[in-house]
């Protein structure tokens, strides 16, 4: 440990270096250990405890929360919670696919604009990004109400009874979630798409590749790094969403995020909420992992 080393042009010993580095990190590490790691471990612990009748926690091991979560109750099987989990995953996948699908051409458009205008377009994407989700969802609540054009149009087309709001409904929830995810997708796709090597596209066109093939083999592979960040930044928030489903949906449109929030609020069943949080993390990691593998595999094929 005492051998002399040169780091950043400074002659010192390994031990002195590590002491100095440790000193720099001690604040941040201590903070994350006490307010992220420790609470996380307590959350795992609490998930295996019991709830007492007045909403507190009893220190007794139990798997009740998980049984309840997967619908195994004394009165038989109930699929309600499984159904909510399933649709949370489904809605997160739909949101990710639609948001990235719209963001991709948008980013292309921005990257092809004149250099001076690019920053302006990007700023236009950044403004909603810096506006709180509650405020933006409140705005959707107004826009989708009965007297405004979208609901009138839907009524004219016969999709909706005249005079009714477009919410609460699944379409309102989907619209809200896609528009919330959109700026994240654009911002993370932009660096890859801006740096796109155009000569590859031209080469593919010169060799008479069909437009689909040009896209699949000359454009898409180059943007995979940005694409995987975009998927991460849209999928993870969508999985834990509760603001949009709460404001644009209702009790019939609950996702796993609403279930968790309910347990920590009115439901007063902290162990149950903790167990659900663990399941949510597991589902999210699974989603992130499988999308990364998918991306890796398609990169190999191409």
């Amino acid at each position: 440990m005492t051998e002399r080393v040169v780091a950043y042009g400074h002659l010192t010993t390994r031990r002195a270096l590590l002491a100095k580095g440790g000193l720099l990190m001690v604040g941040g590490i201590a903070w994350l250990a006490s307010f992220l790691l420790l609470p996380g471990l307590i959350l795992v612990l609490v998930a295996f405890l019991q709830r007492d009748p007045d909403g507190g926690i009893t220190w007794a091991f139990s798997l009740d929360s998980f049984r309840q979560l997967f619908g195994i109750t004394s009165s038989g099987l109930s699929a309600a919670n499984l159904w909510i989990m399933l649709r949370s995953v489904a809605l997160a996948v739909i949101t990710t696919v639609v948001a990235v699908g719209i963001a991709y051409p948008m980013t292309f458009f921005i990257a092809r604009a004149a250099p001076r205008k690019r920053l302006l377009w990007l700023s236009l994407v950044a403004i909603p990004l810096c506006t709180n989700l509650v405020i933006r969802t409140y705005a959707w609540k107004l826009l989708l109400s009965a007297r405004l054009p979208p609901a009138r149009l839907a009524a004219m087309l016969g999709w909706l009874e005249p005079g009714r709001d477009l919410l609460p409904s699944w379409s309102a929830v989907c619209i809200g979630m896609v528009s919330a995810a959109l700026p994240f997708a654009v911002i993370s796709l932009y660096p890859s798409i801006e740096r796109l090597d155009r000569s590859l596209i031209e080469a593919a066109q010169d060799l008479y590749a069909s437009p689909v093939r040009v896209f699949m083999q000359a454009i898409l592979p180059q943007t995979l790094p940005g694409l995987s960040v975009a998927i991460l930044l849209t999928f993870v928030p969508a999985m834990g969403m509760f603001v949009i489903t709460d404001m644009l949906g209702g009790a019939k449109h609950w996702l796993i995020g609403n279930l968790i929030q309910h347990q920590f609020g009115q439901g007063r069943n902290v162990p149950y909420g903790a167990a659900m949080s663990l399941v949510l993390i597991a589902l999210t990691l699974l989603g992130v992992y499988s999308s990364r593998r998918q991306a890796g595999r398609s990169a190999e094929v191409l």
Binding site: G21, G27, L43, P105, M106, G240
Partner: protein, 272 residues
């Protein structure tokens, strides 16, 4: 590529409509004379005037002002703490010869808050604070608990931004400074810090934006008197649409527009 042009334009139009149509509707309806709801009664500026009303006489104006101040206080304090801790963390991680296993562990530590849904972090904080409350009243639901919660997720983002800049900087300039007999302090003060400064400012701005954007963590850890603007709007929307809140939202968005466009001008000016 021409064949795709039409499709491209439709997607761009749909995308920007999804982003801006609701905000435009809110801006329009903030001039509605009606107190609530979506029936257009007539043009009026009274909701903007009422926001400026004397907080002593108008309860709503007082509530909105308190919520705004809480939002700004929460953002400012948490940004300062997380920028300092996150920058130091990044410096410590990047510039020292940690064994690779420890390096990986540190990397995971700052990745976790980025890929965990915020509601899970909020749930963990609630459970943790419930125990820590016995140690100190700092952890009671309220402003201090909210600040701690925000710093916890901001640190990771600041560290990520600062660290990527450190990687780009590399050791050459430090080595040159040392060769010219710069002391440790002089080297940090005159070489590292000036080069790192843009990343530190960028990290701080990201942290502040994340704090303003957050609802879930504040909602889980707030107390009765520490409501932020998003929490205030969330609670009042349960009882219908209020025109004065459209006015507040419009002012917030306008503030963001001014801020973002100023930044855009500044970067353009610098580049030119």
């Amino acid at each position: 590529m021409k064949r795709w042009g039409g499709l491209l334009q439709v997607a761009v139009l749909v995308g920007f409509l999804l982003l801006y149509a609701p905000l435009l509707a809110v801006a329009l309806y903030s001039f509605n004379a009606a107190e609530k709801g979506s029936v257009w009664v007539g043009f009026s500026l009274r909701w903007y005037a009422q926001l400026m009303a004397d907080p002593e006489t108008s309860r709503r104006a007082w509530e909105i002002r308190e919520a705004t101040l809480n939002t700004l206080q929460l953002g400012a304090v948490s940004t300062v703490i997380s920028t300092i801790l996150g920058t130091m963390l990044a410096l410590g991680m990047q510039r020292f010869p940690w064994p690779s296993s420890l390096g990986k562990l540190l990397q995971v530590t700052i990745d976790v808050p980025v890929i965990t849904p915020d509601i899970v972090i909020a749930a963990a904080l609630v459970v943790g604070f419930n125990l820590l409350r016995f140690v100190s009243p700092l952890f009671d639901p309220g402003m201090s608990a909210m600040i701690i919660g925000h710093v916890t997720f901001q640190i990771a983002f600041v560290a990520l931004v600062v660290r990527s800049r450190l990687v780009l900087m590399g050791p050459t300039l430090s080595e040159a400074a040392r060769d010219l007999y710069a002391s440790s302090w002089y080297h940090f003060h005159r070489v590292t810090l000036p080069l790192l400064w843009p990343a530190i400012v960028g990290g701080a701005m990201l942290a502040f934006t994340l704090s303003l954007d957050d609802f879930v963590i504040s909602f889980f850890t707030c107390g009765p008197s520490s409501s932020t603007l998003p929490i205030y709007v969330y609670h009042s929307q349960l009882r219908g649409l209020r025109t004065d809140l459209f006015a507040v939202s419009t002012l917030l968005v306008m503030g963001t527009v001014v801020l973002v466009l100023t930044l855009e001008r500044l970067t353009r000016w610098k580049r030119d």
